[in-house]
């Protein structure tokens, strides 16, 4: 089984995010990067399927040179080879533009399954995977926790609202976008990193892939959440504090 996993490099959760002077993107100068979390779960699902049924896991990622570290991490964890669509100005593209690049890069691959993370930690559009499916003309399902191979295709478990799950069947090939937390991630090993050095990374320049990437959605502005410090400490004895609390709830917040 040939499995493609689309991964994205995003700013690390622990990074201090600053807005760059244009106000349209974040300042990338002092950022640490990591693999998008739901993409890591997609990769894990791909590796589990490969371990069970054999085959090949190919990761594909679009982004600048720095994406190389995330690609290497995926190879270290067990992916067999990688395709890097080298694109510096990814921030100016919308999900359609990125999906077009990925679709073009996958043109000759003919996979049995394509996995992507549900959504990215930075932009959170949740669109790239499903648009990719549309562009390739493949069936897709989102919010996937588990994938099982059947005789005709795949049986997948989807997470719905309020603790409901849904199991659906898809033919092969198909595109699935994977929800975080459906499997346990493996850690990177020294052996994996050493083996990754000899694995193939095919580089495609975005400019050479003749696709129309004119954005249909344009990013106007990014902003940090405004800090609202509204914690108040009520002084006095428990009785006095309780009285003050009731008054505030009644007259300031008007919930009583």
């Amino acid at each position: 089984m040939k499995i493609i996993v689309a991964i994205k490099q995003v700013p690390d959760r622990d990074s201090q995010i600053r807005i760059d002077p244009s106000g349209k993107w974040i300042d990338e100068s002092d950022l640490q990067y990591a693999m998008n979390e739901s993409d890591a779960h997609a990769l894990e699902e791909g590796l589990l399927l490969k371990e069970k049924h054999g085959g090949e896991v190919v990761v594909v990622s679009a982004g600048p040179e720095s994406v190389g570290t995330t690609i290497r991490e995926a190879l270290a964890k067990g992916a067999d080879r990688a395709i890097h669509v080298v694109a510096d100005e990814l921030g100016t593209l919308d999900a359609l533009g990125v999906a077009r690049l990925l679709a073009a890069a996958l043109k000759d691959e003919n996979p049995d399954l394509i996995l992507a993370g549900l959504q990215s930690e930075d932009l959170g559009l949740g669109q790239t995977g499903v648009i990719l499916a549309e562009l390739l003309g493949l069936p897709h399902a989102s919010l996937i926790l588990q994938v099982e191979k059947t005789d005709t295709g795949f049986s997948v478990k989807r997470e719905l609202e309020e603790g409901w799950f849904q199991t659906i069947e898809l033919p092969t090939p198909a595109v699935l976008t994977i929800q975080s937390g459906g499997n346990k991630l493996r850690y990177a090993t020294l052996m994996g990193i050493k083996r990754a050095k000899t694995k193939e990374v095919r580089r495609l320049a975005a400019a050479e892939i003749a696709v129309d990437s004119t954005p249909v959605a344009v990013l106007q502005q990014v902003a940090l959440p405004r800090k609202q410090k509204s914690t108040q400490l009520l002084a006095g004895t428990a009785k006095e504090a309780a009285a003050a609390l009731v008054e505030k709830l009644r007259f300031e917040v008007r919930v009583l």
Binding site: D12, D14, T189, L190, M191
Partner: protein, 642 residues
């Protein structure tokens, strides 16, 4: 004088038949010896060369050899009665080298010690004194092994040990009896042959039993890795630690064959004493079994049939085993080596372990908390940032940055440093030193963390570090050396002890029991400094196991992050010992010990002694804080955000 002392009798003449018989027996004995010893030697020499091993500085090796082997200091010091008995046997063997050579040479008329001559008479009497001591010693060891039977010698009685004891006893008695018989009769001939046969039977037994230590352990002690718990570097792209036979190095194989099965490692092991699978002696003997059955080039995994992966991951790396071992076995490089093999290849899959590794792959600390929380703590405590002008960089560590109790310790140390007028600053960014992943065998993560930290410290021009965590201190000072030159570092006990005379003594009548953290005591040889600080709070009392025999808290080796233990909790066992001293205060000097005992004491219910770090003890006696330093007030600690 000489006429009062009887002369040692020797047979005067050996017939040709006797000469031939003797020669044949010696040859047979030597052949039998070599048939086994040659195989063992071959296995050791065919093992991989040790990366990073140097014979220099040779002076230290000679010093350790004289202390541990010639003087038997470690053997005696840690187990005085058995140790002294053993030393008598050992010294007698040394004294008997010349006697035995002479014994064989005289058959062919080449005897070089004349019992009637001055030198010969003196030497035979000199040897006789040792022979007597040896006979008494071996008898005592026999009684201990077969009648007293300490449990760490194992449940099975070793009959071969009994037989060897008998041979040694016969050797000594037949020698001593030579002083009381005539040189011409049959009795001396019988004694001579009994002595000879005992020797020739003993020789081939040596390589077949743990008595091999008599030949190997002096070499093992001499060829030690040079410092406590030194974890060797990995060599080349195919070295992932101890995975299979081909990864066993000469030192590991030599050590495996040197084990004398005395069980000192097991006696002191926190895992073996709290009902876990791990038994350090069994690990070493498992490797020996592996070498015997598979050999040093086998593909068979080291963890599997011969040693258990579960056991290897129960080690707290407290190092009591390595510290105690009288034959120079270095258990920590072995245990950590086995873990490296399992982790670097991905063979070890553990929910908690993976969680820890993933937290450190993406984040900065072992607790998996956002560094923004550390920033908030620094701001709230008004800790000055390190800017290159201060004397010390105050290294917070994961516990000091994120653990509520660890933060209290840091805050109190800062108060004391303010009081002493010592300048210090904290780094804006700090990553875990890599201690838990180093001990768990994740070399990839350890290297990343060490390199990033070294770069950060160099950029900030840090020259001197002080830290509340013995694990940080050890890892920065020793383990980081593989990847660069770490700044000078000391534990806060060393800093505080230097200034103890300037710190106010507290007018308390309390008894204080100090718990030696493994990574401060055995790893760093610091015992007196934290006691000097703890003594500010009252009269020091000692738990039964203290100093280099201290019993672990259970947190080391990454185990603090690996979830619930099987068997009894190590921390409960140790906390009970500390409580039993009757002390009102338990003094700790490691935030991990502190956190383990905090839970253990809480489980003990009401009336438990109070648990304080030595920094908290030092800070408690300081004059009350003025209004301008309210940032250091302990109220500021509330709601630490974890």
């Amino acid at each position: 004088m000489t006429f009062l002392l009887p002369t040692l009798a020797e047979p005067q003449h050996f017939s040709l038949a006797e000469k031939l018989l003797f020669a044949a027996l010696v040859l047979a004995s030597a052949l039998l010896f070599w048939r086994r010893f040659g195989v063992i030697l071959d296995k050791i020499l065919k093992s991989k060369k040790d990366p990073g091993f140097h014979l220099f500085p040779i002076g230290e090796r000679i010093r350790d050899f004289v202390w541990e082997v010639v003087l038997q200091a470690k053997v005696i010091r840690q187990r005085p009665a058995a140790g002294l008995s053993h030393a008598f046997v050992f010294w007698a063997f040394c004294a008997f080298v010349l006697v035995t050579l002479n014994h064989g040479a005289q058959v062919f008329g080449f005897g070089f010690l004349n019992p009637a001559g001055t030198i010969g008479r003196f030497y035979f009497w000199f040897a006789a004194v040792f022979a007597l001591a040896c006979a008494v010693g071996i008898l005592a060891l026999f009684v201990r092994r077969f009648l007293i039977r300490p449990r760490w010698l194992g449940e099975k009685l070793s009959w071969e040990s009994g037989f060897i004891a008998l041979l040694i006893f016969v050797l000594m008695v037949t020698y001593l009896a030579g002083f009381f018989v005539a040189g011409t009769g049959t009795s001396i001939r019988v004694l001579w042959w009994l002595h000879t046969l005992s020797l020739l039977i003993f020789l081939p037994i040596i390589p077949h039993t743990k008595h091999l230590h008599l030949l190997l352990s002096p070499v093992t002690v001499f060829l030690s890795r040079g410092s406590f718990s030194r974890i060797p570097p990995l060599s080349g792209d195919e070295d992932f630690g101890l995975v299979a036979g081909a990864d066993l190095t000469r030192l590991v194989s030599l050590q495996a064959y040197s084990c004398v099965e005395c069980g000192r490692c097991t006696e002191h092991c926190p895992a073996a004493n709290t009902g876990k699978l791990l038994n350090p002696k069994a690990i070493v003997l498992g490797l020996r079994d592996y070498l015997n059955h598979c050999g040093p080039s086998s593909e068979e995994p080291l963890l599997g049939k011969y040693n258990s992966q579960q056991a290897a991951f129960q080690c707290t790396t407290c190092g009591a085993c390595e510290f105690q071992c009288p034959v120079g076995i270095e258990h920590l490089p072995i245990l950590v080596g086995l873990r490296r093999g399992a982790v670097n290849t991905g063979a070890w899959q553990d929910t908690y372990g993976s969680k820890l590794f993933l937290a450190l792959e993406r984040g900065s600390n072992a607790l998996g908390i956002s560094p923004a929380e550390r920033d908030k703590f620094i701001a709230r405590q008004e800790l000055p940032l390190f800017d290159g002008t201060q004397e010390y960089c105050l290294w917070l560590g994961c516990m000091g940055s994120y653990d509520p109790r660890g933060r209290e310790i840091v805050a109190d140390l800062a108060r004391v440093m303010n009081f002493l007028g010592t300048s210090y600053g904290v780094l804006r960014k700090e990553k875990c030193t890599g201690d838990p992943v180093r001990r768990l065998g994740n070399d990839l993560l350890f290297q990343q963390l060490a390199e990033e930290n070294l770069k950060n410290l160099a950029q900030n021009k840090v020259k001197k570090i002080v830290s509340i965590c013995p694990h940080c201190v050890r890892t920065i000072q020793e383990d980081w050396k593989e990847y660069g030159t770490p700044p000078e570092i000391e534990h806060h006990s060393e800093f505080l002890a230097r200034h103890a005379d300037r710190l106010p003594r507290q007018p308390l009548q309390d008894k204080v029991a100090f718990h030696d953290p493994c990574y401060l005591g055995r790893y760093r040889n610091v015992y007196d400094e934290p006691r000097a600080v703890a003594a500010l709070a009252g009269e020091l009392v000692e738990a039964p196991r203290n100093h280099e025999r201290s019993f672990c808290c259970g947190a080391g080796g990454g185990l603090a992050f690996l979830g619930e233990e099987t068997g009894d909790r190590v921390s409960n066992v140790r906390a009970a010992e500390l409580v039993a001293t009757g002390a009102q205060t338990i003094a700790a000097a490691c935030p991990f010990c502190n956190s383990m005992f905090r839970d253990a004491l809480a489980a003990g219910g009401e009336g438990a002694p109070q648990l304080l770090d030595i920094a908290q003890i030092a800070a408690r006696g300081l004059p009350p804080i003025g209004p301008d330093s309210s940032g250091m007030d302990s109220n500021g600690m509330g709601g630490s955000g974890i």
